[in-house]
Amino acid sequence: MNENPLWVTILKRTAVVVSMIIAFFPIYWLIATSFKPYDQWASWPPVWLTDAPTLQNYRIVFFPEAAREFATAQQGSLDYKVSGSAWKAFQDSAIISTFATFFSVMFGTLAAYSIVRFRTGGENYPFQFLTVRMMPPIAVVVPIVALFSILRLSDTYFGLVLAYTAFTLPFSIWMIRSFIEEVPLELEGAAMVHGMSQFRAFLTITLPLIKGGVLATALFIFILNWSEFLFALVLTAGNVITVTLQVANYVSASSGKLYGVQAAMGTISTLPVILFGYVIQRHLVRGLTFGAIKR
């Protein structure tokens, strides 16, 4: 369809440019606000591009002293939840996301292998895992809170790791399953003829072939864990704090949302997932459709 007249082409490119602007604008606003000084956060008319860029918001995110200084300067009380540094949130999120991703991918690989090669549990078995992704997490949150309270798991790393592992397992099982299905069984068969056990054949032949896929799955699940909000909100009470909670925390009783600080935290917290997202861009479609659509 290259025989388009010139005006059609111009129209199409204009539409693309407009879409790009719409896609980027909210992100631009987030980044732009993170560099605005206090009096420009919610001024009228709004400041589209600050003439006095400052790193103060980023300092408040990471240094409690800067937060105290800021609170005194605004004559506000220290009811800002900014007093805690965001390092703790980054550290907790990194620990929880890494462990949950590790368990999810490991359990997922084993289960996927068993499902593909042994047809464990029959045709319907994998759907049981899919159902988990379909139920709204809020529906099981109430009983999980009840259960975790008697298991003493609320507000612990392990509690969140457990919840994240379970709720990302459907992705790892279905995604890795689709990768394993692409490897011909004959390769493992050949190794078994030479006396390898089937599981060793899987470890030494199939696994190296799908390691790119497994890595993509891991990054994909890390993104999901890092971005998770609801479980973090409900299953913690101050001892454990994730980046998403920290973002939502920048609300003060006296002056509402701390836009600039929140935007600074938002910008930094979302950078790693954007990076990972583009690294696995080729696999995103497969991941988000549980391996149903491949590229």
Binding site: M1, R117, F118, T120, F199, S227, F229, A263, R295
Partner: protein, 308 residues
């Protein structure tokens, strides 16, 4: 989706003491299965119990000792207009957001059919929204739709007088920024799915139609759309399921305010359980939702995976 399985475990697994262990393939799914048991199956059983109690954590009674009130929770839910409104609102949000996403995605994908310079860069920019943390996206929309945000500023530039409409505290219009945030963030995914589908289409039929002189509109509706149907149905199903769970933007933008006017099912249940502490009541609502969602999904999920 045909797989050639190897029957049973390796013979060595069946000798000696090891025959008392579960079969090898069962052992492999065990970690995943156990995790699911703890986090999903056991909680679902607990829901069955909580749903017939009036347990409130503020009463200082352990949940397993709560007094059963049998089916009164369900009776109350039926007459709770806040609950029924939240259900209807959620269905409305799903229908509107998902169809707008699909429309935009189809339109966008058609712009990317031919090769042109910077095409990949443009795709990368357009899919940026789906890459960012939903809480941060919601936060950006909170600022955009602030009384003193850029959206109101643009409106006032157009109408020529200051316009400071407070979107997020208006009972009707507060839903708009929430839905726009959802559409903004997830149209890129729909776009990627449709684009992938379009690129994978067999080109012969399209070329033949062009040679035969069919109009672009006719080619799109008569040839591309039917071939795209499997991809579109998967995209619709997945986005509907995800949108049905919508929580993050609602929590960040309004928390269901004003007066429950923006409560979706998830937000209603969060407020009920963690603001009003009516755990038993919310468990009953959760049970209803789970039963409906799981039965719908079991019917829908089967055809979805046939189109591998």
């Amino acid at each position: 989706m045909t797989t050639q399985g190897v029957d049973g475990p390796h013979p060595s697994q069946e000798q000696g003491w090891s025959r008392y262990l579960p079969r090898f393939n069962i052992l492999l799914v065990l970690p995943a299965q156990l995790t699911m048991m703890v986090v999903v199956v056991v909680p679902t059983l607990i829901i069955l119990w909580l749903a017939i109690t009036d347990w409130q954590p503020t009463q200082a009674i352990a949940w397993f000792k709560a007094e059963p009130i049998w089916f009164w929770n369900f009776y109350d839910l039926w007459y709770d207009s806040r609950f029924t409104n939240a259900v209807l609102r959620t269905l409305f949000v799903v229908a509107v957001c998902v169809s707008i996403e699909l429309g935009l995605a189809l339109g966008l994908a058609l712009l990317f059919l031919d090769e042109w310079p910077w095409r990949r860069v443009a795709v990368s920019v357009i899919i940026l929204p789906m890459m960012i943390i939903p809480v941060d996206a919601a936060n950006a929309f909170f600022m955009l739709f602030n009384e003193r945000g850029p959206i109101n500023h643009l409106v006032s530039l157009v109408i020529g007088s200051p316009y400071e409409f407070s979107w997020l505290s208006h009972p009707t219009w507060a839903m708009a920024p929430i839905m726009l945030a959802e559409i903004w963030q997830w149209t890129p995914l729909m776009f990627l799915l449709v684009l992938t589908g379009l690129m994978n289409l067999p080109q012969n039929q399209v070329r033949a139609a062009i040679v035969l002189g069919a109009s672009p509109a006719r080619i799109f509706f008569k040839i591309m759309l039917p071939l795209l149907l499997p991809v579109i149905s998967i995209a619709l199903l997945i986005r509907s399921i995800e949108t049905f769970k919508i929580f993050d933007p609602v929590y960040i933008l309004t928390r269901g305010q004003p007066g429950g006017a923006t409560e979706t099912i998830s937000m209603f249940m969060y407020n009920g359980a963690f603001v009003y502490f009516r755990m038993g009541y919310i468990a009953a609502a959760a049970l209803l939702v789970l039963v409906v969602v799981i039965s719908i999904c079991l019917v829908l999920a089967r055809p979805m995976t046939r189109h591998g």
